[in-house]
């Protein structure tokens, strides 16, 4: 418990609050993600002690995790990749004038997810670290397969449209360098396409710009304008949240597991949303503005984001891009991440863990106080706010890679998003394929190299077999539940 004493010095507390505030701003601005934010501020910390430095940087990270949800809910623009799934129900809620409820739900579940993850880290660190070692390419592919499987059949529309949308996502994901052969694919000799399609450019365009185009057509009316400002919104929402405890527990498990293995916060949020939709009583209403649909991805994303620091500390493998930058920081401060960090640098590790507890509590208080403020943004007339969003999106798209090309791409994706909406093609499968397609392809091909082309590697041990089996069950769940229902009916008749 010496860690709390380390953190509770006034200087460290100040750094913590500065970090959270910076993080929230970074999370709100699309493009300037947590990884970039931490990287930019990293050199500033070299004159601090490592403990103070990690407290400030990790607080930026918590802040960014919180902040990502704000623009997703208010404007349908995910500030961070892991808040894409939050838009599915969060934004419809804002349109119904329940932005404050959605925000409170998002922040509170983020906090719950993080808290559970920190508790796991505190008590199970050595045990859990060993588990991560069991993950080879086959296991990674099984996890990615499970994510896709939990998402298939989600759209209410035509299954063929879902498939078409997902295939387009896979095609976009394959542009750029192929890590397995080291060859460039589908770049058509242009230098701009070398990096492939940036996930954030696509998402800002498809969701944000597409949404604005649609609203403009609807006559500059933005439904959220009528948002009532309720000062007791936080308390009101808290009364509703306990009803979703099952979803929370499930999302915490998914999140912690994905953070540790390390699959990352983005797949965790998608998987959690997909599974919540499948198993919730209100599953068929998901996508229309269900609080539960905000709780699921936010809990999982924050749990994964937090537990991603565990493999970083104990194994030196980063579970997220931000963790990768923090890892660089550890080395610069003269600390060697790895199994011995817990033994050799007790102050540092326990200081970090204590800052996880306190940082998240401070973060929750700060963002919750601002809920009415954020919700009030929606009262600004659409004709004023739309151009501002456009500019912020454009700046965001530019920041990702300092390239004007990305801004044009964002515009193009905006048009695609608008057309998709008109033709009733679902966007989530495209986004999911774009974010996971690349990883799933590499893991699959690495696994095939290891097994010399034999598919049996996917049930070669208990772990991979179980995950893969779960994936197959989820994939055919609609068929299974239909068959079960059919049998019951037959019996009743």
């Amino acid at each position: 418990m010496g860690g709390f004493a380390v953190v509770l010095s006034p200087f460290n507390l100040m750094l913590m609050i500065v970090g959270i505030l910076l993080g929230v701003i970074i999370g709100v601005l699309p493009g300037l993600g947590g990884a970039n934010g931490v990287a930019i501020l990293l050199p500033l910390t070299f004159s601090m002690s490592p403990t103070s430095a990690i407290i400030m940087l990790s607080c930026i990270y918590w802040g960014a995790l919180f902040g990502g949800a704000i623009t997703s809910i208010l404007f349908n623009i995910p500030g961070e990749p892991w808040s894409v799934a939050t838009t599915f129900d969060g934004h419809p809620m804002a349109r119904q004038g329940k932005a404050d409820e959605a925000l409170t739900g998002a922040f509170t579940s983020s906090f719950v997810g993080a808290l559970v993850a920190v508790i796991v880290i505190t008590f199970l660190a050595p045990l859990v670290a060993k588990f991560a070692l069991k993950f080879g390419p086959a296991e990674f592919f099984a996890v990615q397969f499970l994510t896709f499987a939990s998402f298939v059949g989600m759209g209410r529309g035509s299954a063929f449209k879902t498939l078409a949308s997902m295939s387009l996502g896979f095609a976009l994901a394959s542009v750029g360098l192929d890590t397995v052969t080291g060859q460039l694919r589908m770049t058509f000799g242009t230098t701009e396409l070398l990096t492939g399609f940036k996930f954030l450019t696509a998402v800002i365009g498809l969701f944000g710009i597409g949404e604005i185009l649609a609203s403009m057509e609807a006559g500059l009316a933005f439904a959220g304008t009528h948002a009532r400002l309720r000062l007791n919104a936080v308390l009101e929402t808290w009364k509703k949240l306990p009803a979703y405890w099952m979803t929370s527990v499930r999302s915490c498990i998914i999140g912690c597991w994905m953070g540790i293995t390390p699959g990352g916060a983005t797949p965790a949020s998608f998987m959690s949303y997909g599974i919540a939709k499948r198993f919730s009583k209100n599953g068929n209403k998901f996508g229309t503005g269900q609080l539960e649909g905000v709780v699921a991805p936010e809990t999982a994303a924050h749990a994964a984001g937090t537990s991603a620091l565990l493999p970083m500390i104990t194994l030196g493998i980063p579970g997220s891009p931000t963790a990768a930058v923090l890892l660089g920081g550890l080395l610069i401060w003269g600390l060697q991440p790895g199994p011995l960090l817990f033994v050799e640098q007790k102050d540092f590790v326990w200081g970090l863990i204590a800052s996880m507890y306190l940082g998240n509590i401070a973060g929750l208080i700060i963002v919750l106080t601002c809920v009415p403020l954020f919700a009030a943004i929606l009262r600004v007339p659409f004709s004023i706010i739309a151009p501002m969003i456009m500019v912020i999106c454009a700046v965001g798209a530019y920041t990702i890679n300092n390239a004007m090309f990305d801004v044009w791409m964002m515009g193009l994706f905006g048009v695609i998003g608008y057309v998709f909406n008109k033709l009733k093609y679902p966007l989530p499968p495209l986004v999911l394929a774009l974010v996971l397609g690349d990883m799933a392809e590499s893991s699959f091909r690495q696994a095939m190299l290891l097994s010399q082309g034999s598919l049996s590697i996917f049930w070669s041990n208990g772990l991979v077999g179980t995950i893969f089996g779960l994936g197959v069950i989820l994939l055919f769940w609609p068929v299974i539940s239909w068959a079960v229902a059919g049998m019951r009916q037959a019996k009743a008749a």
Binding site: G182, L184, T191, P321, G328, P339, Q446
Partner: protein
């Protein structure tokens, strides 16, 4: 602020006193520092470390702006700096992809499009196996590969047709026609963990990528791909220091490979401008922070500037071309 640290102040004054010749040119706006690799990797760590040292010791009036341009195995970064010739406000840190990327992907780029500034260090490669592996020496391991089935042994590495795979191909010269199954992963840290988890049989990780696992007793170093042993004699584990790892040649495996960690500026800049960066990097390398960093990563602290550096790069390009031609990695 500047004279906060007395010693530093003295050093700065001394530098000012002897440097009127260098003071001829200075950046007039922030300098973009490109990294042709992703965040968290070896090049990224070094570039951000340099940025930190420059800021901490106030070595430059303008700021450095560190930007990752990792696309197409670094091609994005190289094409960026090639696209702004005579721009003295842009520098780039390089790794072996300076040679391998244009050769393997056919990207229209060559190091001659740039102005060489300084070699900061050479990064080492070590042949690692899991600590529970029965192979105690490099010779042992390669004999096992020779005696085993073709492609039975799995070598994990970073990227495809880059340095790790080039070393693997070089090792295959000594295994009597038996090949490794080379499995490319996205980053060096992930590769080391795959070896700890026994998903692959061996790796050629850089020291800094695997040192933590070695310290914890999960990995065993077999040999160092350098002509001489490391000069770092402080114990890393309870029994071994970097200098206790035999060279590969000593253990009968005649393969050498080291990776350039160097700085280049845009092509066609004036001598004054290039000298500014040479001077800046020299100052960075004189700091105690830099020495600690070198030791942590067991780098070979070879420093070259000017013409010597240019010659070294020329020779290294030739070596890479030959190795990649032999491995059939050249872009067709």
């Amino acid at each position: 602020m500047r004279i906060k640290n007395f010693l530093l102040g003295v050093a700065a004054l001394a530098a000012l006193a002897v440097s009127p010749a260098y003071a001829a040119w200075e950046p007039t706006r922030p300098v973009t520092f490109l990294i042709p690799a992703g965040t968290g990797g070896g090049a990224d760590q070094m570039a951000r470390f340099i940025d930190g040292v420059v800021k901490k010791h106030n070595l430059m009036k303008q700021n450095l702006i560190v930007v990752n341009k990792a696309g197409g195995a670094g091609a994005e970064g190289f094409l960026d700096i090639k696209g702004s010739p005579k721009d003295p406000h842009k520098i780039i840190i390089t790794l072996s992809n300076l040679f391998t990327t244009p050769l393997a992907t056919g990207t229209p780029f060559n190091w001659k499009d740039l102005t060489p500034v300084a070699m900061l260090a050479l990064d080492q490669f070590v042949l690692w196996v899991n600590a529970e592996s029965p192979h105690k020496t490099a010779q042992d391991y390669l004999s096992a590969v020779k005696g085993g089935a073709d492609r039975q042994f799995k070598m994990g590495g970073t990227g495809s047709k880059q340095e790790d795979q080039i070393i693997t191909v070089a090792l295959e010269r000594l295994t009597g026609g038996k090949k490794f199954t080379y499995v490319p992963f996205a980053g060096g840290g992930a590769v080391a963990v795959q070896l700890v988890g026994k998903h692959v049989d061996s790796t050629v990780n850089n020291p800094i990528e695997a040192v933590a696992q070695w310290k914890a007793g999960a990995l065993r170093p077999l040999c160092l791909f350098d002509a001489k042993r490391s000069t770092y004699t402080d114990k890393v584990t309870s029994t071994m220091a970097w200098s206790d790892i035999p060279t590969c040649k000593e253990s009968g495996v005649n393969v050498e490979y080291q990776m350039l960690r160097g700085i280049f500026a845009a092509g066609g800049i004036t001598k004054d401008q290039a000298d500014f960066y040479v001077n800046l990097m020299t100052k960075v390398m004189q700091t105690p922070d830099w020495r600690t960093f070198m030791e942590q990563g067991a780098f070979n602290p070879t420093v070259l500037t000017g013409n010597e550096y240019r010659k070294w790069v020329e020779a290294a390009e030739k070596t890479h071309f030959d190795l990649m031609k032999e491995a059939d990695f050249l872009h067709k």
